[in-house]
């Protein structure tokens, strides 16, 4: 197989667009960025060799606009489109449009996406392939009433889910019938704005399961392997916050079983490329198919750390007809953990905090990897996902990896917007996390512990620092004023604007 791509359009933004472009650049491929009007100043535009505007800020009118993106690909003479994750990455009609335009879509064939893309259809497929699934509906509901009736039958709590989506968007856990209507409305609305599809179904809510997923990879010659698991149970608002591999709850037998099932699931739909089979694992260590993400996963770096692979390169190779380079199981080496840095305020129910990043210092040193999509001076727009960076580490053992990630997070400085940096460190320091015994209920359960309890010594340091800072500004202002007018006064220090 000879490489045939020369130019790759990345139909995405933020860190994942940059991640994909990095591998392209290393392979000597030219890169094409697309951007919405809100993203003209984004880093991915500056790092690409070409850049085309694809529409106004709302994703539906830009990053989800198939025509605009295909137009850009044609103008740029791109051979291939990498969709990243989210946006059009799991949209089978876009895959067909690429096929029709003669542009390679870097991902599975439309048929595999059809089979897995709609959550409900995927569940039906899996049942047929003898893969265990979570009890629940096999198709989206047409009406609220229908959904209510089904929920009643399955029994609360239930989980409302976007049929066309993933990544925790358009999901709502509903405790009781009284909350059903508002959850239904919110889930549908988020599903629409995230995936352009408001179809919603529901599943029985398993009691505090673990979320464990298996990375699979298939080539076009019928080969499919798995690259071990990722533990993704640390979730807030149904979105992953910290991921790690190996999972602290898997043993080699369970890993092999889940890996086999994941490969079977992928093969049953004729899968090609990188995919992730997500499972829920309950307290008895039974596991259930949850969904298959038919694209690169946000948390793929932890798999890269313990395997030494470049998964984006594998995606590009497979899309150009290459066979998988090996078919034996790969034993993970050491341990890796990733933390997602969000522009949000954990103390305000994870309220997003878009705005300008005034200053940025990113951690470094041994076995620390930063995947960020921002820069100092960048204005984080309010239209898209609030994740600004992924910080991941590797170490020989899990305790060392925790210590390393905590150390790295301690070096991270983001000013101008609120982030979850401290919250992330609190998670790493929490006894349940340290023990490796945490399920999807962990973060909500531990919420107050993770937020509370300022250190009295640090509060004292803050007061001392603030008082001296006020004094220094007063001295500086007095010097300036006396130099200019020979009359010095001092007042509110904080209103003079920042001292630079």
């Amino acid at each position: 197989m000879a490489p045939r791509f020369k130019r790759v359009l990345v139909a995405n933004r933020g860190e994942i667009a940059i991640r994909v472009m990095r591998t392209c650049r290393e392979l000597g491929l030219s890169t094409v960025a697309v951007y919405s009007e809100a993203d003209r100043s984004a880093l991915h535009v500056r790092q690409a060799d070409q850049a085309y505007c694809v529409g106004p800020p709302p994703s539906r009118e830009s990053y989800l606009s198939q025509d605009a993106i295909l137009d850009a690909a044609k103008k740029a003479k791109a051979d291939a489109i990498h969709p990243g994750y989210g946006f059009l990455s799991e949209n089978a009609s876009f895959v067909r449009a690429c096929d029709a335009a003669g542009i390679a879509f870097i991902g599975p064939p439309a048929s595999a996406m059809d089979a897995m893309g709609e959550k409900t259809r995927a569940r039906a497929h899996m049942v047929k392939a003898n893969v265990p699934v979570v009890p629940g509906a096999t198709e989206p509901f047409k009406t609220l009433e229908e959904a209510r009736a089904f929920a009643e039958k399955v029994g609360f709590p239930v989980m409302l889910k976007a049929a066309g989506g993933g990544g925790g968007k358009g999901m709502r856990r509903i405790e009781k019938m009284a909350d059903f209507e508002s959850g239904w409305r919110a889930a549908k609305s988020e599903a629409m704005s995230s995936f352009g599809n408001d179809a919603v179904y529901l599943e029985k809510y398993l009691d505090q399961p673990h979320h464990v997923e298996i990375q699979v990879f298939a080539d076009g010659q019928g080969n499919c392997i798995h690259l071990n698991e990722r533990e993704c149970s640390a979730q807030r608002r149904h979105q992953k916050v910290i991921e790690e591999t190996p999972s602290p709850i898997l043993n080699p037998t369970l890993r092999a079983q889940m890996g086999d099932v994941a490969v079977r699931a992928a093969k049953s739909v004729g899968y090609i490329g990188a995919g992730t089979v997500e499972f829920l694992v309950d307290s008895t260590r039974s596991f259930y198919f949850l969904e298959m993400n038919t694209r690169l996963q946000v948390e793929h770096p932890v798999t890269e750390w313990v395997t030494g692979l470049d998964l984006v390169r594998w995606q590009l190779d497979v899309a150009q007809g290459a066979r998988l380079p090996f078919l034996e199981p790969l034993h993970p080496r050491g341990h890796s953990i990733e933390a997602r840095v969000y522009a949000e305020d954990p103390g305000q129910n994870f309220m997003p905090s878009p705005g300008r990043i005034d200053y940025l210092r990113i951690p470094g040193g041994p076995y620390v990897r930063d995947d960020s999509g921002v820069y100092a001076g960048y204005e984080v727009p309010r239209f898209y996902d609030p994740m600004i960076s992924k910080l991941s580490v590797w170490a020989p053992t899990r305790p060392e990896a925790i210590a390393r990630l905590d150390r790295a997070l301690s070096e991270y400085v983001v000013k101008g917007i609120t982030t979850n940096l401290r919250y992330l460190r609190r998670i790493l320091q929490h006894p349940d996390f340290v023990k490796g015994d945490y399920d999807t209920g962990f973060l909500p359960r531990a919420h107050d512990q993770l937020l509370g309890g300022d250190d009295a010594k640090l509060t004292e340091v803050a007061v001392l620092a603030a008082a001296v800072y006020a004094q220094q500004r007063a001295e500086k202002a007095a010097t300036k004023i006396s130099a200019a007018t020979a009359t010095g006064t001092q007042g509110s220090m904080w209103r003079h604007g920042r001292q630079r």
Binding site: K169, A186, S189, E190, S193, S194, R237, A343, E344, D345, Q348, N349, F350, M351, P352, S353, P354, G355, D358, Y359, R382, Y384, D385, P386, L409, S410, V413, K415, G416, L421, R422, R425, D454, D455, L458, T459, E460, V461, A462, V463, L464, A465, A466, A467, V468, Y469, A470, Q471, Q472, A474, E475, T489, Q490, G491, M493, W494, R495, R498, Q499, R500
Partner: protein, 172 residues
């Protein structure tokens, strides 16, 4: 060495504590706070950063301003500190600001889009009741009433974009 007295508090409603600051020359200061005296060396760096050495202990401090308060980041902890000098304290006493009970404004905590307004003028609300839903960054965020009371103004309109800090609803 003239000593300047500052008044600092880290929580709303708290009585401010005194902080006495005496310059020792250069960037060094003697500071008395909560009955203890410390020697501080405070080097102001670009971008609102300060390198502080307190009795030999080193702290990388970052400052951000939010209105009258300053947010101080030390070893991952963010502390909001309100520092005033004597003159500012007198002005506050005269102006009677910081007596904020009574009317409460629910403002947009970020730029976004109002997707739902649950109340209208005249409604009675309880503390913690959902008032408005603002969408930003693909997440819907419900804003709750900070107190029990009555809705006296509704500025939020469903479907419209709002800026950070925009008044949405006033509860009295």
């Amino acid at each position: 060495m003239r000593t300047t007295r500052y008044y600092a508090k880290t929580k709303r409603g708290q009585e401010p504590e005194t902080v006495d600051v005496s310059p020792l020359g250069g960037q060094r200061y003697a500071v008395t706070y909560l009955g203890a005296k410390h020697e501080l060396e405070s080097l102001v760096l670009p971008h609102g950063a300060v390198s502080l050495i307190i009795d030999g202990e080193s702290y990388a401090v970052e400052f951000e301003e939010v209105g009258d308060e300053v947010r101080v980041l030390v070893k991952g902890q963010v502390t909001k500190v309100d520092v005033a000098d004597e003159r500012k304290m007198r002005m506050r006493a005269a102006g009677g600001s910081f007596t904020v009970e009574g009317k409460q404004t629910i403002a947009a905590p970020m730029p976004g889009k109002v997707v739902k307004v649950f109340v209208k003028v005249g409604d009675t609300v309880t503390e913690g009741q959902g008032i408005v839903v603002v969408e930003a960054m693909k997440m819907e965020n419900e804003l709750k009433s900070p107190k029990a009371g009555k809705v006296v103004e509704v500025a939020a309109v469903e479907g419209t974009a709002v800026e950070n800090g925009a008044k949405l609803v006033v509860v009295e």
